[in-house]
């Protein structure tokens, strides 16, 4: 059950994934999403830092390196609130499953690693809905760095925590920053009752475990007809050559 801050429950189910970069959480969420859609459930999806209006400000701040730990925290809270108000809350009220790639725990981990007060950040996000299940894909720092830094990709300024002056070397800075974030995540497992998944296990084993945990919650969920055109095409012997232009909208939920 997804729960509002005032204790009221919503008919929908809010399932979120958390973990440091390279934990494989987005892959797992994507697999879960495909499975749920295949089972005929109505599934909505929301991704960290993806609100259109707010993202313009964030992008500007990142590009010009204007963001401080405080304004970084506030603008991400604005992004979260916009998605909560427009994507997640309406879907949960309607009884759908909402999948969120990163949730408030990302802010709790990153903002505190950036030096903000733990209490302040928690109060800032006190309007958030409590998830039905919060998965935490736990992986060691070394393993995540191995996954991410193979091939020495270009690291972005804030992603590498370069705003914190931990080190002049982006890779060293990234290592130190990720380590601080990992510590915050680990400390939150008990505080927020996160469901820990061993992110070093084989991909499909992890997915099996995730589905087993999700399955009991799949009662009274709004259903949706997915890819209804498939049935028409096969029954009527059509090819659907004029469906191309509209299909992306239909598959995107």
């Amino acid at each position: 059950m997804a729960t509002l801050p005032d204790g009221r429950t919503l008919p929908g189910k809010l399932i979120i994934v958390e973990g440091i970069d390279g934990s494989g959480k987005s892959t797992q969420l994507d697999l879960l999403r495909k499975w749920l859609i295949g089972e005929g459930y109505c599934v909505a999806f929301s991704e960290w830092n993806s609100s259109d209006i707010v993202r313009k400000v964030t992008r500007r701040g990142k590009k010009k390196e204007l963001l401080t730990p405080l304004s970084f925290s506030l603008i991400h809270a604005a992004d979260f609130s916009d998605r909560l108000e427009r994507q997640m809350l309406p879907a949960l009220k309607a009884g759908a499953i909402v999948l969120a790639d990163r949730y408030v725990y990302t802010a709790f981990a990153r903002d505190v690693a950036r030096g903000l007060d733990r209490g302040y950040v928690r109060e800032l996000y006190s309007f958030a809905i409590r998830p039905t299940i919060a998965f935490y894909f736990r992986v060691s720092l070394d393993e995540s760095l191995k996954r991410i830094l193979t091939g020495r990709p270009q690291l972005k300024y804030y992603e590498a925590g370069l705003d914190l002056d931990l080190s002049d070397d982006p890779y060293e800075s990234f290592r130190l920053f990720q380590g601080m974030i990992l510590e915050e995540y680990d400390a939150m497992v008990d505080e927020f009752d996160l469901t820990v998944i061993d992110a070093t296990a084989p991909l499909l084993e992890q997915q099996d475990e995730v589905r087993k945990i999700v399955d009991p919650y799949l009662t009274n969920v709004l259903s949706a007809e997915h890819s209804a055109w498939r049935e028409v095409l096969s029954q009527e012997g059509l090819h659907g050559r004029y469906l191309d232009s509209i299909l992306p909208e239909q598959t995107e939920l």
């Binding site: 707010v54 400000v57 500007r60 304004s71 603008i75 302040y120």
Partner: protein
């Protein structure tokens, strides 16, 4: 409800002193003008700035929605009328934090007199009118520096109506059309500004505003502001080292500091 204040470096913050360490020692003065729409804040700031600069002080100004980071984003969002209340509040908070950290605190550190057109109180008042949780609002803005003085320019709704009409006419947000019932600009302006004034009155007691009757002429209001500011800056040295004009006898150093006069709200009409 009293704002919990945290003292740091001889300066007070409204709760979490997230910025106190980086702020360091602040030698300037933070002077805030608050009040509803059409009350004449920006004209007074322009006049005060000129007066203070003529007296040899270094003056900087700031105002809502003017941050480099979020100012444009906020204006775009208001233009589109599409964001929810919590998101708007957080965008205002982002704009405010950016200006506090990158304009206001550095100017105060450098010894400027910082005149700001609205501070957290306007943001809090507009949010309270729209039904936002007061506790949440106070904690979001708890990193704010407590100003040296907050002037509350208060005017009756009929005064506001005539000033707004003769200046530029009613505006979507100033009429509260995002949440007020009906589409009537005039009715909603009156209703919305009344509610705002009620919130400002409550905030004035909570945060100890210095009330100024803004139903009077611009010149009368300016003279009141000047008088109170003189006390706030009495121990600052202007560049040309004279006493600011119109400040009168500042009193001997070591004398008890004069109390800033508090005018009761009922007497303000």
């Amino acid at each position: 409800m009293n704002p919990r204040k945290i003292e740091n470096n001889q300066r007070a913050y409204y709760g979490y002193d997230l910025l106190a360490r980086q702020a360091g020692k602040l030698n300037g003065r933070l002077i805030v003008l608050e009040g509803t729409d059409g009350v004449g804040r920006s004209s007074q700031i322009a006049l005060l700035r000129e007066w203070l600069e003529n007296e040899g002080y270094a003056v900087a100004t700031s105002g809502l929605k003017r941050s480099k980071l979020a100012g444009k984003g906020l204006s775009d969002a208001m233009g589109g009328h599409t964001l929810g209340d919590t998101t708007m509040n957080l965008l205002y908070a982002t704009d405010f934090a950016d200006r506090l950290e990158r304009e206001i605190l550095p100017a105060l550190r450098a010894g400027f007199i910082m005149l700001t057109d609205r501070y957290i109180y306007s943001i809090i008042a507009r949010a309270l009118v729209r039904g936002t949780d007061p506790m949440w609002l106070r904690s979001v803005f708890s990193f704010a520096l407590v100003p040296d003085i907050v002037f509350y320019l208060e005017a009756d709704v009929p005064t506001l109506v005539s000033r707004v009409l003769s200046a530029r006419g009613f505006d979507y947000w100033e009429s509260g059309l995002d949440f007020m019932p009906g589409r009537d600009y005039y009715e909603n302006f009156v209703g919305y500004q009344r509610r705002l004034i009620a919130q400002f009155d409550a905030l004035a007691d909570e945060y100890v505003f210095h009330r100024i009757d803004a139903n009077r002429s611009m010149h009368d209001v300016f003279c009141d502001l000047k008088g109170a500011i003189c006390e706030i800056i009495a121990d600052m040295k202007p560049a040309n080292a004279g006493e600011p004009e119109g400040c009168g006898d500042p009193g001997e150093p070591g004398e008890e500091p004069q109390q800033v006069e508090e005018t009761g709200g009922d007497e303000a009409t």
